[in-house]
Structures are given as structure tokens and as C-alpha cells.
């Protein structure tokens, strides 16, 4: 069963198409890696799923609920982290999460649970503006994880983290479906990263979905087209390159 499904989802700006007739199928209880080079349309797609920008065409369903009719219900069930960590610099980490907790109507314990999950418990009383970049990133993640939402939409969540932090967050994301029975839709431009945590991947280039399926399916599909499969990074780059060539050299 798919928890997120898009039907011909499209976003056009004057002069260019950021996302073109996208048909995504995100299975429930999985980590779905949304891959693509910078500017492929990953963040635009995620923003459309969160109602931050209005699609030009197409529609989508999240957990059986259709946007925009069920917007409030969808937003109650989706935890998100988009582009950069969002926080009130004048408030502590704990106070920041308290604001989100109040809006979502969650129990008080959910704040300490979210802080614990991202390893910020010891820094909960520190002002968010005094956090390091990695800590701000973790606070943003805590804001997405608070209340254990059934769907998580994470846009490049490991940006700005050191290698240890990347490993820790990756392990956390990997464990979420099992731990909290949720689905994670996570974007990245690094296949090496997605490879270590995703069950399924969707590869986007210039707003078009080039591939969707498991990593195993990706290998089979690449081999069938004569692309290298020893290293998934190479597979991904060759796939993008071939698509760019088909489009007449546009990168």
C-alpha cells in the first residue's frame, strides 16, 4: 500500500518547468530515497506535498487524504524538515519544540522524547541561535519527529552535519519505520547516502522521474541499459548523464 501517491504532479514557473507530470508511489513503512542533482525539483516536490507551494497541475494523496481538501489533517500527520532548519533564535531548543507541541496538541513528554531522539537533551536549555550548525539541523529534525508522525518528509536532513552526525542521523532515519511505524520520504543528491538507508528510490532529473523502485531494481534496470552497476554512484551519474544527453546536453 502506498502512503504517498502523486498523479501527474506538475509545477511550472514562467519560463521553466520545475516538476513535470510526476507519478510517485511511496510504500507505507519504508524509507523512500528521493534522489536527484541540485535543481532537479526535489525540494519543489516536497514543498508541494506540504502545501507550501501550489501545484500547476496534477494531484496527490497522503495517507488516503487528498490535498487541498484535507490540508489540516494531512499536516497533522506529516512531520517535515525542508531545506534549512527553522527555529526561533531567541528561544531555547526546548522552547522551540514546545511551540510546535502546542500547535500539534501533543502531550508534554513529546518534547523531551524528540530531544532525546536527536541527541539534544543536554543542550535543551541553550538558545537556538547559539547552537552549532549541526545542532540546528538536529533541532529541525526534532521538530519533524515530535509526536511520531506517520509520515516524515525530510529534505537533505544531513546537510551541515559532520561525519559522525551524518552516521547518527542516517541510523536514526533507517530505524524510524521499525521503531515508530512511520514512512520516511527523504531527499538527497548523494546516492551513497541514500543507498545506506533507503528501501526504495526515486530518481529525478529536470523535474522528470527517471526511475522508481528498489535499489535492486535500479541495478537490474541499469544493467539492462548497459550502464555500470558495480558502484551505485556511477549508475546514478550515468543515468543522469544519459538523460541530459537525450535532452540535448542540458545539465
Amino acid at each position: 500500500m502506498n502512503i504517498i501517491e502523486t498523479q501527474n504532479l506538475t509545477k511550472r514557473y514562467s519560463g521553466f518547468t520545475a516538476v513535470s507530470e510526476l507519478n510517485l508511489h511511496v510504500p507505507k513503512g519504508t524509507v523512500y530515497g528521493f534522489l536527484g542533482p541540485n535543481g532537479a525539483g526535489k525540494s519543489t516536490t516536497m514543498k508541494m506535498l506540504l502545501g507550501l507551494i501550489r501545484p500547476t497541475g496534477g494531484s496527490f494523496v497522503i495517507d488516503g487524504r487528498r490535498f487541498p481538501d484535507d490540508r489540516t489533517q494531512i499536516l497533522k500527520e506529516v512531520g517535515s524538515f525542508i531545506e534549512a532548519p527553522a527555529f526561533y533564535g531567541n528561544l531555547t531548543g526546548e522552547e522551540n519544540l514546545e511551540i510546535i507541541r502546542k500547535i500539534l496538541g501533543l502531550p508534554k513528554a513529546s518534547v523531551s522524547e524528540a530531544l532525546e531522539l536527536v541527541g539534544l537533551t543536554d543542550f535543551r536549555k541553550r538558545l537556538a541561535r547559539k547552537y552549532s550548525l549541526g545542532m540546528k539541523q538536529r533541532l529541525g529534525l526534532a521538530g519533524a519527529l515530535i509526536g511520531r508522525p506517520p509520515v516524515l518528509i525530510l529534505d537533505e536532513p544531513t546537510n551541515g552535519l559532520d561525519p559522525a552526525g551524518i552516521h547518527e542521523i542516517r541510523t536514526l532515519i533507517r530505524s524510524l519505520p521499525r521503531q515508530f511505524d512511520c514512512t520516511v520520504f527523504v531527499s538527497s543528491h548523494l546516492l551513497s547516502e541514500i543507498e545506506l538507508m533507503a528501501d526504495c528510490v526515486g530518481i529525478l532529473n529536470h523535474g522528470r522521474l527517471l526511475f522508481e523502485g528498489t535499489l535492486q531494481d535500479l541495478k537490474f534496470s541499469a544493467a539492462a541499459q548497459g550502464y555500470p552497476t558495480d558502484n551505485l554512484e556511477d549508475t546514478f551519474l550515468t543515468l543522469i548523464d544519459a538523460d541530459n544527453r537525450r535532452r540535448g546536453g542540458a545539465r
Binding site: 527553522a86 500547535i103 500539534l104
Partner: protein, 240 residues
């Protein structure tokens, strides 16, 4: 709940201190004026409260409006500075509720600084004119009217701040509007309906029907600004 949330958000922004300081500064205006120039006012005709308001209200109301403009800028700056507005839009809360919450915060602080100023005017009336407790009702009436007149600039400042991601732009617009309001001719009723000019009106120097007209105008402007904010927020979403 939005109001409580907005009060939590302004912690450590200096907003409360700014309103407190501004309120005390505005309240000090009649006191200082009477301390150094009491001869000029003690010989004037009229009720003590009207004399005090005519002498000081221009400066006091300018401080009040500038405070509300600065407050509105700070309230939206904390939303835009670190992408929290985007985060709020991914939560099940309408942006217009944030607007109402922020309006509630400034309105509450306005009540507090106007009460401080009212206490100062009442104290001056008692100290220099020997007025009794009967002055209190008149002072409260005048400052209640001032609160109503402050509503349109509060809402308009918030509307401008909600549209500008850069705080300096909204602050600049607000300051220009306040100074433009001080330059408008006060005898032309239509021109004094400019939202930022309304707080300069005081019922002591107005006829009863003019007081009523200003009250109706302020309420109508407040409703119109709120409607405009709702429309702008919906239209803006279409272009994102």
C-alpha cells in the same frame, strides 16, 4: 491559543522591555512638561485633562505609534529570520491566526502602556490642577478612545510586516507613514482618517459627533485591514 503562543515567542526579543520603556517615556512627557512649563498651562482655560492632553498628546501618540510599528516589525522578524514562517506553514495552523495572535500581543501591550500614560496624566491633573478622583473617569474615556484609534495602525503595521521578509523595509514603511501622518492637515476630516493619523486625535478637542465618526472610522478601517490581510495571504499562496 494563538495569543499565548505569540507571547511565548517574544521571550528575549526585548519587545516587552521596549513597550515598557516606551510607555514610561511617553508617560514622562506630561510630567516633564508640567515640571518645567507649568505656568503656561495653569493659566489656560478648560478642564485640566483637556489642557494636559492638548499640550502633550502629539508627542505621546507619536511615541505610541512608533512603538507599535517597531513591535509589529519585531513580531514578524522572528518568523522570517530563521525560516520559522515556512515551518509554521507546514503545521496545522493558518497564517491568518498568527496575524491575529500578533495583533493580540501588540494590543495587550498597548493597553499596558496607555494605562501607564493615563496614570501619568491623572497624576499631573491632581498634582498641578488639584483635580479629584472624578478625573479618573474622564481620563479612562480619553485613553479608551486612544486605544481604539491605535487599532488601525497596529493592524496596518502588522499587515506590512507580514508582507516584508526584510524587517528594515517594514520598519522604513512604518516610520515614513508615522511622519507622513504628522504632516497631514488636522482640520481635514478625510485626511485625518489615514490609519497612522488616527492616534493623534483626542476626544477633548473634538465635538461629540466627531468622536463618534472617528470611532466608526477606526472600527471600519480595522475590519478592512483584516480583510485585506486575509485576501493578500490567500493570493500570495497562489503565486508561490
Amino acid at each position: 491559543m494563538s495569543l499565548v503562543l505569540e507571547f511565548r515567542k517574544v521571550k528575549r526579543t526585548g519587545l516587552a522591555e521596549a513597550f515598557l520603556g516606551g510607555g514610561i517615556l511617553a508617560a514622562a512627557v506630561p510630567f516633564l512638561n508640567m515640571t518645567f512649563r507649568s505656568d503656561r498651562y495653569l493659566s489656560a482655560n478648560g478642564s485640566p485633562v483637556t489642557i494636559l492632553m492638548d499640550a502633550n498628546w502629539q508627542m505621546m501618540s507619536m511615541l505610541n505609534v512608533l512603538l507599535t510599528v517597531a513591535g509589529a516589525c519585531i513580531l514578524y522578524h522572528i518568523e522570517y529570520a530563521d525560516h520559522t514562517m515556512q515551518k509554521m506553514n507546514t503545521l496545522p495552523i493558518r497564517e491568518v491566526r498568527l496575524f491575529f495572535g500578533k495583533a493580540g500581543v501588540i494590543f495587550t501591550f498597548s493597553i499596558l502602556f496607555l494605562l501607564t500614560e493615563a496614570a501619568s496624566v491623572a497624576a499631573c491633573a491632581a498634582r498641578w490642577f488639584g483635580s479629584g478622583p472624578e478625573t479618573a473617569a474622564r481620563v479612562l474615556y480619553i485613553f479608551g478612545f486612544a486605544l481604539l484609534m491605535l487599532l488601525p495602525p497596529i493592524l496596518l503595521s502588522l499587515l506590512v510586516s507580514s508582507l516584508c521578509r526584510n524587517m528594515w523595509i517594514s520598519l522604513g514603511i512604518g516610520v515614513v507613514c508615522v511622519f507622513a501622518a504628522t504632516m497631514l492637515p488636522t482640520r481635514d476630516f478625510v485626511l485625518t482618517l489615514f490609519p497612522f493619523a488616527l492616534p493623534f486625535q483626542t476626544p477633548g478637542s473634538l465635538a461629540a459627533d466627531a468622536v463618534r465618526n472617528y470611532a466608526i472610522a477606526a472600527a471600519a478601517e480595522a475590519v478592512l485591514i483584516v480583510l485585506l490581510e486575509v485576501i493578500i495571504l490567500n493570493v500570495r499562496r497562489l503565486f508561490e
